[in-house]
């Protein structure tokens, strides 16, 4: 079952455009320039990997695109709408209707089952997704009533992915989704993300320091010291099962 953009609650395509985006943190005497004049275009439905070493600004980029941090300057256009200047409430609405997040540490609610973790988001954001269907889509139909403590790392990450998808977002932003997983589990999670990206034309951005993952992307963005040093399309992305690190 796929979701076309017009099936999403807010009819968003997830096309991203960043122009002159900067982010500076004032931490003590020396300000930290996490993003420096970033220019980037990501088409709707693209599977993009953002690569860079620690401190390159890739996570900050994700935060800014995801609306959990505001840039110090520049424009962040999502489907033509500039989110850079939005206030707190507007950003919440933006995240509610447009963005799904997947984090390295899963961040599931330990007192809720897999099904309840997904249902919770659907209830609270009015995304309208069927939690059971979403969990089936990620291959967890047999683990619906398990609590996170009883799930493996990979299964927990799948629940996190299902939770992000329950809102039927236009953008799926993943911060080191395999960082806490072993090779095989990591591959299966990556494969899931890729499949969802294709099935739903879901603009997917994965931030990672693991360059091996870049080979499966449609586009690779490389960052260093807060700048985009390269943004190139990948001619023949490989399947997740063939990625190795």
């Amino acid at each position: 079952m796929t979701h076309a953009p017009q099936d999403r609650p807010f009819a968003s395509t997830g096309a991203l455009s960043l122009h002159g985006v900067t982010k500076t943190y004032d931490r003590g005497a020396v300000p930290v320039r996490a993003l420096r004049n970033v220019e980037l275009e990501l088409p709707a439905g693209a599977f993009t990997v953002v690569l860079g070493p620690s401190g390159s600004g890739k996570t900050t980029l994700l935060n800014v695109v995801g609306g959990i941090d505001r840039p110090s300057g520049g424009q962040v256009l999502v489907d033509g709408e500039d989110i850079a200047g939005l206030g707190e409430r507007a950003l919440t609405e933006y995240r509610r209707r447009t963005v799904g997040f997947v984090f390295q540490l899963f961040n599931l609610v330990p007192t809720l089952t897999a099904l309840e973790n997904v249902t919770l988001i659907a209830e609270l954001t009015g995304g309208g997704g069927d939690a059971r269907q979403v969990l089936e889509r990620v291959g967890l139909q047999d683990r619906l009533d398990h609590f996170p403590a009883a799930l493996s790392g990979g299964e927990q990450q799948r629940v996190a992915i299902a939770r992000a998808l329950a809102k039927r977002p236009a953008l799926l932003l993943c911060d080191e989704p395999t960082g806490a997983l072993d090779l095989d589990t990591g591959r299966s999670v990556l494969g899931l993300l890729r499949r969802l990206n294709r099935e739903q034309a879901l603009t997917t951005v994965i931030v990672t320091h693991n360059s091996a993952i870049a080979s499966m992307a449609d586009r690779v963005v490389r960052m260093r010291s807060g700048e985009v040093v390269a943004s190139e399309a990948v001619a023949d992305p490989v399947e997740a099962e063939r990625v190795t690190w």
Binding site: D69, R96, N107, L108, P110, L112, E116, L120, E123, K167
Partner: protein, 796 residues
């Protein structure tokens, strides 16, 4: 290393200053209230003792029988320091148009007596050259604005006699101007005391009594000497034997200040308990969040002892700060309370002393309580193995359906957000228990104070609306005969009048005796209700006597037991039976039907008692017509020939209700303290709970859950715990309040706990409000959360 440890401790505390401030505040309140209560109690006891020492307050007062013979025996008894005798007369006085009961106490005119001296506050002592003058007891003088050079009229066998006032004095017997143990709440407008030359008093025939006073020597075997003197007094026919402890004024004052002693026990338990709980929660959470850090330190060779002491110090330091501040505050508060109290009661000797040992004890209690609570998490920290350095922080709670869901299966149909609330509330059992404990402790504090207020209001209403149905008691010259009764009954503004007999009585059994007052009513009296156990009204029996229920335990009496009633003012003694017991809030009285004492009812009914020579009624009870002008009726009644004084029953009620104003201040303070206690505990547990779930909550915010939705979820968890604490809290609070009130019950007052329905609501509302307010800082933190950081960090 020490400097770095200290720096770490400071920073750990600084990062959680709100939580550690809660420890400081609760220990401060606990130690301050302990110090204030205990020091005030000590100051007041010392003030009384100083007053009593200065005035040689009697250890024993004996009245009736052969007082002279007893005095001789006492003088010859080893262990006795001083013996004195005096005359006491009950009479009536007039100031302007107002008449009231007066007690005239004899003093040597030329020098202070050996025992029960007075402190002259204005004017001078008695004058041996002018034996007709008097000293006014200070409460009487204050009410009527009388001083040296003024005069008042006193009823003597020669009629109303004008007596000059030489001075105003304070007496150890009337610091609380109680007429008797049964009439502790006496107003100066109804009863006063004057001191006059003893010689002339003895010449005033009738109505007086002789008393012997004894003080014991320092170092004597007080119990043995008192027992011997009591036996001797009984052998000499004494009708009343009163120890210092039982002396009405002294007993009333000690009942009053006993409350401070009770509070000195209650406050530290509540507040230091809360501080201990708070410290346990905070330090446990801190240890949990720093396990990998602690493991790293251990892996680098830091000893367990250093880690243990460091984490203990995190609790002890704020407790010490709060304790020291509380000790200082308590000392200041104690002085204020002591001065206010002695000023209000006009106690002329005020001793205020610092009690450094009490302050030290308070600080030690605070530190010890928190140290005990911090010990468990500190030991846990010390036991962290170096391998923990490799692991991340494990989330609290392994997940599972809550006990409530297992008990109530229909809860499984709740939406996910509802389940999150239920399970979130109970995910950390220890912390949930502590939150619930905070609610329970706060409810105890609030209910004890509100319960005191309700009880006092209900008992006053019971006493003055249900039991005492008269509006006034008229004291007459001679007999309250039928003619006088009719005269009063037909007075405009009076609806009904009844004659009764009031006299001093001593109830004797094999196990002891008790001095009280007997009131004999017409068997069909409409002026007094007799309430048995459970508040059920009963008839006045024609045979036997009704006794105040305190005598059940005091004299070991049951219904049907034989008792002897000595009526010293009537020169009679009656053998009768206990017909029942009455529960009355004020005093322990004896009641009988007029034929029992031999006084015939003054109605036109047939006489059933002995002959007309039997004691006659000496008091008239009057009930006013609805809407009558009380002051005008009183004035008219006082003008009736033969009426010596009119005591307005409801003036006492009005005065008691005015005193309630002070009580409201006290209750208001307790409500604030209770709310502060609940606030401190719930704030701490809430803040810790949110900090350990920062990642989880930030993820929900990142997913687009609105602040208000998240706030409702977090508040819901808090509310679940508060609701769980309400039932046990209210039950324990009620029990505690009942025990607390009962501790004040005696033969003078009966404090059966009454709690009005609205009080339950107010108590719950106060705690709920405190709980809601206490979560505001934590919810504000949720709103201000750095989402970008929180979604990537493990719990704090």
């Amino acid at each position: 290393m020490v400097n770095v440890w200290w720096r770490k401790a400071r920073r750990d505390i600084g990062r959680r200053r709100g939580q550690f401030a809660a420890i400081v505040v609760t220990t401060l309140l606990g130690v301050a209230l302990f110090g204030a209560s205990f020091d005030a109690y000590r100051n007041l006891v010392t003030s009384y003792d100083a007053m009593f020492a200065r005035t040689h307050f009697a250890d024993l007062t004996v009245a009736g029988g052969d007082v002279a013979a007893f005095a001789e025996t006492a003088r010859a008894t080893p262990g006795v320091a001083r013996v004195a005798t005096r005359t006491v007369i009950e009479s009536y006085a007039r100031v302007g148009d107002h008449r009231f009961l007066v007690r005239m106490v004899g003093l040597p005119p030329d020098a202070q007596p050996a025992i029960d001296q007075v402190i002259v506050l204005a004017g001078r002592y008695l004058d041996p050259g002018r034996l007709g003058g008097v000293l006014l007891e200070q409460h009487l003088a204050s009410y009527y604005h009388l001083g040296p050079g003024d005069s008042l009229k006193i009823r003597t066998p020669f009629g109303w006699t004008t007596v000059p006032v030489f001075g105003v004095a304070a007496s150890p017997e009337y610091l609380w101007p109680a007429r008797s143990r049964q009439d502790v709440l006496t107003l100066p407008q109804d009863f006063g005391v004057v001191f006059a030359a003893d010689g002339p008093l003895r010449l005033l025939a009738g109505g007086g009594r002789r008393e012997a006073l004894v003080t014991l020597a320092a170092g004597s075997d007080r119990e043995a000497v008192m027992a011997g003197l009591t036996r001797a007094a009984r052998d000499d026919g004494a009708t009343a034997i009163t120890s210092r402890a039982d002396q009405p004024s002294n007993a009333a004052l000690h009942e009053d200040i006993a409350g401070f002693g009770e509070m000195a026990l209650m406050f530290p338990i509540l507040f230091l308990g809360a501080a201990a709980f708070t410290a346990f929660v905070i330090i446990s959470r801190l240890v949990h969040s720093q396990r990998s850090l602690i493991g790293t330190l251990r892996a680098n060779g830091v000893r367990r002892r250093a880690i243990l002491l460091h984490h203990l110090g995190l609790g002890v330091a704020p407790a010490a700060v709060g304790g020291v501040l509380g000790a200082l505050a308590g000392e200041g508060l104690a002085q204020v309370i002591s001065r206010l109290y002695t000023g209000a009661l006009k106690i002329p000797v005020t001793v205020i002393e610092p009690h450094p040992l009490v302050a030290l004890a308070g600080v030690c209690m605070a530190v010890a309580a928190v140290a005990v609570a911090a010990l468990a998490p500190a030991l846990d920290a010390a036991r962290v193995s170096p391998a923990e350095a490799m692991r991340g922080v494990q989330p609290v709670g392994r997940g599972g359906r809550s006990a409530l869901e297992r008990a109530l299966p229909f809860l499984s149909r709740l939406p996910a957000a509802g389940k999150l609330v239920l399970r979130g509330a109970l995910r950390s059992p220890g912390r949930s228990i502590i939150t619930v404990a905070g609610v329970v402790l706060a409810l105890v504090l609030v209910m004890v104070s509100l319960g005191m207020l309700d009880t006092t209001k209900v008992l006053l209403s019971q006493q003055f609306d249900r039991i005492q149905r008269e509006d006034a008691q008229l004291y007459v010259a001679g007999t309250a005969d039928a003619a006088l009764e009719r005269r009063v009954a037909t007075e405009p503004g009076v609806a009904a009048a009844e004659a009764a007999l009031q006299t001093r009585a001593v109830v004797r059994t094999a196990s002891g005796s008790y001095e009280t007052a007997l009131t004999a009513f017409d068997p069909a009296t409409a002026m007094h209700a007799f309430l048995g156990p459970g508040g059920r009204s009963r008839e006045l029996p024609r045979q036997g006597v009704l006794l105040g229920s305190a005598l059940r335990a005091r004299l070991g009496l049951s219904v049907g037991d034989a008792v002897e009633l000595d009526l010293p003012d009537l020169g009679k003694s009656l053998r009768t039976r206990v017909a029942g017991f009455v529960d009355e809030p004020l005093g322990t009285f004896a009641y009988a039907a007029l034929p029992l004492t031999g006084a015939a009812p003054t109605s036109d009914g047939p006489r059933t008692g002995p002959s007309a020579a039997a004691p006659s009624p000496n008091v008239l009870y009057a009930r006013y017509a609805p809407g009558a002008d009380r002051a005008a009726v009183r004035q008219r009644l006082e003008g009736i020939p033969g009426v010596l004084a009119v005591i307005d029953t409801h003036s006492l009620e009005a005065a008691a209700n005015r005193l309630m104003g002070l009580f409201y201040v006290f209750v208001g303070a307790m409500l604030v303290f209770g709310a502060a206690l609940a606030f401190a505990l719930i704030f701490s547990t809430m803040t810790v709970a949110i900090s350990e779930r920062a990642g989880e909550l930030a993820t929900l915010r990142a997913a687009g859950v609105r602040r208000g939705q998240l706030a409702r979820i977090v508040s819901g968890e808090n509310l679940v715990l508060v609701l769980l604490g309400l039932a046990p809290g209210l039950a324990l609070a009620y029990l505690t309040a009942a025990v607390f009130m009962d501790s004040f019950s005696s033969d003078m007052f009966r404090f059966d706990l009454h709690v009005m329905p609205l009080t339950w609501v107010v108590a719950v509302a106060a705690v709920l409000l405190a709980a809601l307010a206490s979560q505001l800082p934590a919810l504000a933190n949720v709103g201000r959360m750095d989402l970008a950081a929180a979604v990537r960090e493990r719990g704090q």
